[in-house]
Point group: C2
Chain length 278, copies 2
Amino acid sequence: MDVWYTEKHQNEAGITLKVKDILYGGQSEFQKVDIIDTEAYGKMLLLDGLVMTSEKDEFFYHEMISHIPMLAHSRPESVLVIGGGDGGTVREVLKYNSVKEVVLCEIDEMVIDASKEFLPSIAGMLDDKRVKINIEDAIKYIERQKNRFDVILIDSTDPLGPGVGLFTEEFYNNVKQALRKGGIMVAQTESPLACQEDFKLINILLNKVFPIVKPYFAPVPTYPGAYWSWTFCSNDVQPKLNNETFAAQLEKETKYYNRDIHAAAFAMPNYVKSILSL
Amino acid sequence: MDVWYTEKHQNEAGITLKVKDILYGGQSEFQKVDIIDTEAYGKMLLLDGLVMTSEKDEFFYHEMISHIPMLAHSRPESVLVIGGGDGGTVREVLKYNSVKEVVLCEIDEMVIDASKEFLPSIAGMLDDKRVKINIEDAIKYIERQKNRFDVILIDSTDPLGPGVGLFTEEFYNNVKQALRKGGIMVAQTESPLACQEDFKLINILLNKVFPIVKPYFAPVPTYPGAYWSWTFCSNDVQPKLNNETFAAQLEKETKYYNRDIHAAAFAMPNYVKSILSL
């Protein structure tokens, strides 16, 4: 029997993946949480029926959300990950010796528990002693944080469901308050192909809040459009590689990121410039 | 009634697109030729059931196969396009004032005829007086060409069906003979994600034939993996932008390509370096 999982975007286009097994299905207070095993991408986490991460392609997303800001910072010690309950972003951040503390602020404990059980290659570092897991709505959490973090990574779902409040000017202003001097925020900012309107609106908001706003791009095969963006924001830091020595060491084990990719990711296609009216 | 077209790759993963209309279906001597109209990507050309090009995403592929070599060349006058019966690559090449002649060597006239009728935004320049259409197997055609072309673009199907002979050491050697001094060949070289084995084998062959072999990368949303490669090959030319003035003028109308993208496209992800044993 052939079983296929199909994720359709805007009822126009989608991906379809051959399923080996359905491993877990839960309904939390916030969303439906599923884990399936696929031929092409291995085990995958789905939230409300949408692909969040997979064993085989997670490296594109997790390396790009973390290493660009971590290597642009002069010495990241305190890091906040918002969302990201699968643990992949935390795992990447922990590779830096300078990091003393990683706070993971995830609204839905079921995401963490399912990821720890079924996706150990992604979630396996969540028990590291430098990690503080805070099960709370990041909208509330961030209001209490002032001048505290060197790097804040918004590893959220799409701007719908529990993620919607993480895409507002008020939220970004609170993130800005939570950054130390020399601090950097990176947010996942949707597909510049399949989600052009969201990508544009988020960038307009970020430009209201931060003086330095630089989108960057990479493939994420299992996401809508398979071509994704993150946006680098700071009051005072440009996204240039700032720690060449550590980058050289790190890229011995990364699968997508390297020093050439760091610079190249910021090359903006012409049609994306048009979307942003640049 | 909802109608969906689904293209599955290696019976593991695929894309699915909502269909508005089926416009054409033909069976040539070589392959099945279909034109469908889709919600997400407009009208599309399919060969043997596989997506070749679409109105909405064709610019990624056609700009990247053509402008990288055309702008690396000092003055391209004579260009050969192998395959590419949809006319998109020819359209891009004709943007250069220096070009005096574009030979399109396409094995299957039905592809040209269907594209002219249903995809005029792509095929519309095939009647330009600088274009010479040659309906012939490129394997035979290339044997007769010596020291003739400045740029040769292999805009082929995948290495199966009528395209298979375009991925051999013998064929690449004949292409090399057909290049003038300072000449450049670019071939589409499959997905570095969904077709890793093909990508690797083609690169091994190209390295046997050409001293300069440089793969480059861009998204192509409707192709397997949605992340594609082309490989730049030459005896004596590096893929650097060589005509800054013309590039600046050209990028006023390109949708993907610009001068930043030219350099950035050659940044090679770490896992791709591993595939190529670099």
